[in-house]
Symmetry: C2
């Protein structure tokens, strides 16, 4: 693994000068945030795959999760690993780049090139740190709409994403119902639960407890709160897996040893695995971005603006919904996804619901789950026919 | 709340000079530990309630959980709060101190007066720190047997405890089947799962990431890793509660404010609650003790010594078992408790099993749960009649 300074350098290089396409919006085009701040300048870093049709009708927006980024289907510029949704997005894959023009932008508040707490504040010439405004899921979606305007795309054929990505997808349907023909929110919720806020708060406190965090000024002071961020990642990672998956994968197996050592080394494979997850995460992620993005998720509550009535948020929507959940996901359980389905039904929306049987927990949306791929492919085919996309014309 | 140094002082005062009865075993009576160390001298701090019958047949051993201690039913010497099982133990309570002589000892490796990493090593005159041997649940039970020998108690009428206390109770039945007439393991497991080891490892890493931990030498160096320990406690505390309980108790309610503040203060009640749990815990607990006790739980696996056959551990046991679980306990789920019941059935043991319907999660064993109290009272009454205890004679 890289040393602390190396990893800080790697992450901040992508923050300032990403290996992605970039669009910059100047002071003449500020983004008004939910917190009231008029934010400018705004940089958005994004990747695209496939070709935009002449009528610009085949655009699919992929939205990423908390620790994801825009590198959906290309090798990652820091880790060198395949894109995080390489199984889902590509030629002949369920989100087929031979048919669709796929866009994924690093979220607002992130650390891979879109404006975030690690970006340089042009007013001071220094990284924002905690002076960066606290953003919401809706703010992320607003910034994505600005990117689409820039690309000349009026309407998305589909918006698709899991977890925090699913929150953005739901927000797209609420904020811009006429700009998104179909949406596929996966393993998500219409609001963050108390338990989920609790896990996020533990992660934030772990970061803030690290003296190298320096009240958020670590980039200026040349430190990196990597120990705190690694602990945050370890705690979060447990919630992404199911008890069954952990049992099947690790059980009580020992790590490269015959017997317990009566000490605090990583005797068990699960300990070694978690430590590895923590250590590698800090090489590619910025601690303040972790604070901002977890906060955006905590604040997410669609019904809050509709007197607590989720159905009201979707009344009269023309968008087609495909809601997907996983049986063993205890972070975003089926029940929360079912509540979205009920609200959509009450609002008279077109909705499909797929609960996928798997023991892999929340992370199942990132894994090789044939039933998931089949469901997405089927829904997209059907939506493409309804939309009259080239190669998908409805039967005469 | 007390400052770091105050709280360290409070905790270490109880470590060195507890407000409890104390027995000291010298070098002539060493305790042979599972790790191979012959440990001496050994101090055990304990509380008793009620009166021991002349025939010494009415002794009940209460075993405490990870962050519990011997102060079961008296005000706590550091916090001033009522004992942790004040609802369960006392005159007229389910574990009735008018009938039973109740003993609870601080566990080996703890920080409330029994020998642990915060105790002074007589060879060096300094606190052991990480030189304290890594102990197991079986070692704790062996030390409790030494205490009973000291008190002249050959056989316990009952051993009862929840969570890590339940592990000790199970180990009592395995290690000393002829010395314990009945046992009540509550909300526990015969071995720690991968997920539970994972949560413990996060807690340990949070402690060790705190620079004030000083590689375990903080007592010598005058520091206190309270930030790391608070994060560990916060993460663990989430696992003690159910998703439903958190939702009912906190939901997305805001803490003393009308709207979210777009910042990293504790906007939500659940955040404020968790921070409070973390901060108060460090006033009464020693960070190294937390490492040692979580490790003892991780290492717990009764079947490991019986070729993986749990039933073999209980073959021919004369002890009466009452296994108790809670429907919403996801840390020590009913399933793990049911596996113990199946093993006991296979071993031909006398076993009752009670699954209590509650939405309060793992911590239910500490709370006002009338069904739990009724089950314990009933089992103890029946066992007392079978044992022929005074006032409980079997009908002629």
């Amino acid at each position: 693994m890289a040393t602390g300074l190396d990893s800080r350098a790697a992450a901040s290089t992508q923050t300032d000068d990403p290996d992605s396409q970039v669009v910059r919006f100047g002071p003449d085009a500020p983004l008004t945030l939910d917190c009231g701040v008029s934010f400018a300048p705004l940089t958005i870093a994004y990747q695209t795959y496939g070709r935009l049709d002449d009528d610009k009708a085949n655009a699919v927006l992929v939205t990423h999760a908390l620790t994801g980024d825009q590198h959906v289907a290309n090798d990652h510029p820091i880790t060198g690993k395949p894109g995080w949704w390489d199984l889902m997005v590509g030629p002949g894959k369920p989100v087929d780049t031979d048919r669709y023009f796929v866009i994924c932008a690093n979220v607002l508040g992130g650390c891979m090139g879109t404006s975030g707490p690690g970006s340089v504040d042009p007013e001071t010439g220094k990284p924002y740190g905690l002076d960066f405004p606290v953003v919401t899921i809706r703010d992320m979606v607003r910034s994505q709409a600005m990117l689409l305007d820039h690309l000349g795309i009026e309407t998305l054929f589909c918006a698709i994403g899991g977890s925090m990505g699913g929150m953005q997808v739901l927000e797209w349907a609420v904020s811009y119902p006429d700009r998104v023909f179909s949406v596929i929110p996966i393993a998500t919720a219409a609001r963050h639960t108390s338990q989920n806020i609790a896990f996020h708060e533990v992660g934030r406190q772990a970061v803030m407890a690290d003296p190298d965090w320096r009240s958020g000024r670590y980039l200026l002071e040349g430190t990196n709160p990597k120990k705190g961020l690694a602990v945050a990642r370890m705690a979060a990672h447990i919630t992404y897996l199911s008890d069954e998956a952990l049992h099947r994968k690790f059980g009580r197996n020992l790590q490269d040893r015959e017997a317990i050592t009566f000490g605090f080394d990583a005797d068990f494979q699960i300990e070694s695995y978690l430590r590895h997850q923590g250590m590698t995460f800090v090489d590619r992620f910025d601690a303040n971005a972790y604070l901002y993005l977890t906060r955006a998720m905590d604040y997410f509550d669609i019904a809050a603006d509709y007197d607590g009535q989720l159905a009201s948020a979707f009344l009269g929507t023309p968008t087609r919904f495909c809601i997907v959940s996983f049986t063993s996901d205890w972070l975003f359980p089926t029940e929360g996804n079912r509540q979205i389905v009920h609200a959509l039904n009450a609002a008279g929306a077109r909705v499909s619901f797929v609960e996928i049987e798997t023991d892999r927990g929340h992370d199942a949306f990132l894994l090789d789950e044939p039933e998931l791929f089949g469901a997405i492919r089927g829904f997209l085919d059907s939506a493409a026919r309804a939309r009259g996309l080239a190669g998908h014309e409805a039967a005469p």
